[in-house]
Structure formats: structure tokens, C-alpha cells
Symmetry: C2
Subunit: 399 residues, 2 copies
Amino acid sequence: MVLKSFVEVRPDSHFPIQNLPFGVFKPEPNSEPRPGVAIADSVLDLSVISSAGLFDGKFLNNSDCFNQPNLNKFLELGRPAWREARSTLQKLLSADEPTLRDNEILKRKALLPMDKVQMLLPIAIGDYTDFFASMHHAKNCGLIFRGPENPINPNWFHIPIAYHGRASSIVISGTDIIRPRGQGHPTGNTPYFGPSRKLDFELEMAAVVGPGNGLGRPIDVNEAADHIFGLVLMNDWSGTTISPWIVTLDALEPFAIDAPEQNPPPLPYLTEKKSKNYDISLQVSVTPAGHQETCIVTRSNFKNLYWTITQQLAHHTINGCNLRPGDLFGTGTISGPEPESYGCLLELTWNGQKPLSLGRATRTFLEDGDEVIFTGCCKGEGYNVGFGMCSGKILPSPP
Amino acid sequence: MVLKSFVEVRPDSHFPIQNLPFGVFKPEPNSEPRPGVAIADSVLDLSVISSAGLFDGKFLNNSDCFNQPNLNKFLELGRPAWREARSTLQKLLSADEPTLRDNEILKRKALLPMDKVQMLLPIAIGDYTDFFASMHHAKNCGLIFRGPENPINPNWFHIPIAYHGRASSIVISGTDIIRPRGQGHPTGNTPYFGPSRKLDFELEMAAVVGPGNGLGRPIDVNEAADHIFGLVLMNDWSGTTISPWIVTLDALEPFAIDAPEQNPPPLPYLTEKKSKNYDISLQVSVTPAGHQETCIVTRSNFKNLYWTITQQLAHHTINGCNLRPGDLFGTGTISGPEPESYGCLLELTWNGQKPLSLGRATRTFLEDGDEVIFTGCCKGEGYNVGFGMCSGKILPSPP
């Protein structure tokens, strides 16, 4: 029997009772930020639920983790507390549970229309690492920039490659993105200074770290999942835009599938007893500047990752690096094998050689005024577990 | 006339009244962390001075910036508040000012022996960027890894190059460093897994950011100095070790000198009306494992930087990147022109080809149990402005 909520959920909603993703919001512009979960078109205010004493399990009873401006304190508590929160909330929101359903005053205080609240960054991000974990993306970049001889360096198959990104410029979905300026060097010996000429989106997802590890104490790859709270959509362009709702690994569990076979087999510290991906359909749409129409430009899937998020995490700590709750791990651009599933304009237009038709507009790279929208969704039997959207619009560089 | 304190200062002390570097400490293991300044062999507890109402100027009166576990709130206030703090403290500590000098109770509470307190990281570091700003270091690395054809890439002279480092693994002087493990690939096609075989120190300094900037709003190079609070010593090895005392740019001002001429001239956004370095003597000593003797292995100077810290900061923000108070900017290894002034073992031993004699031991790279000690000092007339030390010992990798 499908679990049902007393909150009415449209069939295409990303946020049924099976999902319950976590975020942080303000009910009013002057309110303090507080944690919430998404349910249908509403946000459930967890500070209200907590103050009403409804988190009464052994991990969350008397905890102030939902009276915080971000989720970091909750993330630090680990999977047992996350599971307790999830089961408490699923019970509280279910159709046959009267506690909240029949308490009009509490319900009015706790359940707020999502389109009336302001979503914020759900976590204080200590450090942000961006991997390069899709083989199709690595191969396409190699073909474009190095040619067909050896598109993927051999070490790519031994090691989850990553760079360390900037935490300060991570923004929440809906934030405008200013085209960056800097030095370029297209021809000759003298660099020019000016706006970026090839501004792209990158279709990614990101894992949110829960409990961290001490400096010098690596996390075993087979225990890495206990250090990951959930996933968000992520657009890695100028700065990094993430979706407001973190979908937990527990909500994603019904959509877990085997990760691709790895050949050559990874070294022992990266060898997983069970190597999992998740079947999450991803889609990118663009609304070109000056147009109303939104065009889908790519359809990919999280399952296209070669290196799993647990391998990424184990690799990140094997040298002794310490993670902290709220750290973010980007997957890198998630491209599929077909040209229609490439995860960025660099690949979709083959570095500008094949312009893309977007209704009445065409694009090689992003132009000022373009809006880019990511969505992600798992299709269950009779319900979805979705990520909502991750969007942003390009503003021109400063003069 | 030289400014004098009622606190007795040995002639070779790094911390006379002309310095007053800021740090954060705990008086007892169970105390709350609080800001302090170093004076001779003592630490002045700023939370005590603040509670006594002695910060009575217009910026710091009624501020709680010294009742914080780090300096970030003070850093955010900017140079006018920093100057007010400095002049208040110089007056309070001067030989002819009775307020603190003659108040035995307050003095006992506020002035604590430095060897009895525990120093902590003085700042919450949001993001940490490490530059590559010494031309001698860039040239030596180029010669070692690419050969004499073209040791420095031409772009190095147009752009202050940097990588984005990890904030979580920045530790305070005295913290042991565990030798990292990871994949290596010295010969053949199959990588091995094991402890790092060439562990090095890197002699650096780092700038601590004060007021930040909004996303998309670059900082002008000629205003960049107002966004830098001061400098620390930094060892960039496995993780990053910094010295506990931040010496302010105001204390360093008497040691400001012209930065080297830049050829080719930088682009307008990097062109400074006045391009400054500081004359800071730097020294690295090593105590080899199992030995008592400490040997000096290099002597360099901060003035060897090609790109100034203000150019680094302006460049970092020109693309719209936002900085936050407490962000850290490493200079990169500071090597001088002579072989005795190279800033890391890679250069000093020319990638292991010329072992270094350390008393009864020799080294190519660091061995387990080695302790590395950085010091830095400016020599004034009759006084020093120093950084104390930045030290750490190498522990073996986990089995």
C-alpha cells in the first residue's frame, strides 16, 4: 500500500510523503532562518514541530538542531538521527495520523505555502570539492581539447579526480549570476581583459556531507554512505548554484541501482562491497534572453556516473583530509552517452561548432539574459521523489 | 624617541609594543577561546580589557568583537577599528600610562604568561587560496620539472596564479602532521598506494582578509590594502600550518619597501599607484628525527615576492568572486635568488639530487619524526616586529 499524506499531493509533485527533502527557509523577510521539509506545495516548519515536542525519539528529543539557521547541527548527528526525523515526519504527515492533521492551530503555524516563503542555502559550507566523475563528460572534453588519440588520461580510471572549489560563491537557486571578467589569451602573446566569452552551465549534482572525520583518519569506502546526508542539484557556472532541497539518501534508496562496472578494477581502498548509483532523471532547460519559451536542451541521468559518491568520499579522505558536516561534493558534469544527454554547452555545441536551436533563438554559449533551469526526478510507482529545480539567470559583466 | 612599554621586553623579543599582533587563546584547557595580543612574553586578554570598558573609541565602544571565539567580527570592522584598537592598546601598555600599569588586580587578570596559555586558530577561515607569487620559486620548479627551455610560462608574468586550498585542514603551529597516503605512479602503468615519498615543507606567508566584498563587486587594487588585516607565517605541507599571531599591516608599515618592477607591466586592473612589499627576514630550521640539534636550512625574505598581496587580492576579486572576513591568501613558496634562500626541499635538494646536510643527519625530503620550524622577523631600530614561530612535526602514515 502506498504511504499517503493528509496534505494533498498532485501526481506530478516532486515532494510527496515518500520524499521529505530538507531545506532552510524564512517565512517572512524579517524572520530568522529555520529548517523545513517540503511536502507537496507546502513547507513544514521544523522549528515549530520541534517546539511542539513532536520530535520525541531518542536522538532528537531535547535537541536544538531544528532551532538553527542551517542544517549543519542536524547533519552532524548522523544517520540514526536522520532516520528518526524521517520516520517521525512520515508518521506526522500521514493520512491516518490525527496529531497534526486535526490540530488546526498547529497546522496553520507549521505548514506554510511554499510560494510564500524564501528558500536559503540549507547548509554552512565549510569546503566544496568538485569531482569529474562522468566518463562520457571526461571523454568529450578530451576529444574537444586534446583530440582523438587519447581522450581520457589513463589515471582517470584509477582515481576520482577533483578540484577544490570556492565555498563563498555558492548561491541558492534563483540567484542571478553576473558574467565573470578576467584575462583571456585567444591569439598572439598579449592577453586581453574582458567578459568571459564562453559562459556555460554544467549539469551536476552534489552530495552533502554529514558527520565528518578527524584529520588523519580516513573514512572506509564501505562506511562512506553513513557520512552522506543527501543530494542536491548543482549548476557549476560562474559561482555555483544549488537547489534548495536536499533529498536524503534514505528517500533515494528505492531508486538505487548498480553502478557501472569499473575496469581496471579500483585499488582496494576504493573497492566497494556494493557499488551504488541512483536512477535520477535530469533535465536542463534554457529560456533565451528576450523570449518566453523555455526549451529543453539536454536529458541525462545521475546513473551515468562512473565513480560513485561513496568512492569520491573515501578517496577524498584517504590522504588524511578531514571533512566537516555541511561540506559539499559536486559530481562534475553528468553527461550520458548520447549527444542529447550531454551535460553542458561545450559538449552540446561541440565547443561552439554546432549551434543549438532554442525555438526562435540559437546558442553556442550562454548570452546575457539567458535563464537556465535544472530539474531532477526519480519516478516511483504512483509517486515521484524529485529535487524541484535549480535555476539562475545571467546578468551582464560590470562595465 | 622609541615607544616603551611597562611590560619588560627583551631586546630580541618579537613582540614589543611596536608589534602587538593579534591571536586567539585559552587561558586554561576548559576556558572559552578569546582574542589577545602578544606583548613580550605575555598575552594581553582583550576580553578582559573590553569588559573593563577600556576600548572607549568610537568604533570599539560597546562592541562585542573581543568577546568572540575568533577574530572574524573584529576583522569585519575594517582598518579604522583596527587602528583604534592598536592605538588604544599602545597607550594602555606604554610605560607612562598608569591605567593598567598601576592596577594590580586588572593586570593580573589581563596579562598572562604566554607559555601558560594555549594558542588556537585565530580566525574561522571561510576560504583559503594559495598563490604562486615568487618568481625564483616558479623558475626553479620550471627548471626541475620542465627543463631550461622555458622554465616560467609566459602567462605567469600577466596573472597572479593561484589554486584554491582546503580550509578544513589548516592547523595552528605545534600541531603534528601525519604523512599523507595516496596513489603514486612512478614507473609503469599500474599505480601503487602508499605513504607520500617526497614530503616537503613550503616556506610561505599568508594574508588575512578583513572586510570582504559582494559577489560581482571587485575590489580595486589601490583599495586592496584596506581589505587585508595582517600576515602570518604559513607552512603548506600536508595540510597547512599557520603561526598563531597575526602581525598587522600597520605594525609592518615601517618595514614597507618598493615591490620589484614588473615587466611586462601588468594590465590596468593590476596596476598599483604604489606597489609595496615588506622587508621580513624568514628562516626555516629542521630538527631531524632522533636528534637534538636544530639546523637552519634556508634564509629568505618576504620581499622576494613578485606579485604583491594587494595584486593577489584585486586579481582574486576581478571575476566577481566574493571574499569574506577571515579568508586566507597564501603567497606560495617564497624563494630568493640564491640557493641558500630557496623555500622548500624540492629546490634546496634539487628534487633529491643534492642531499642536504643537517648536522649529523642528511635529508632529501622530510622523514617521519622531523620537526620543521619557521620564524619571521623585521628588524627595526632598537626593536623587532616578529611573527614568533610556525612549527610542526611529521608523524608516520597510518599502517
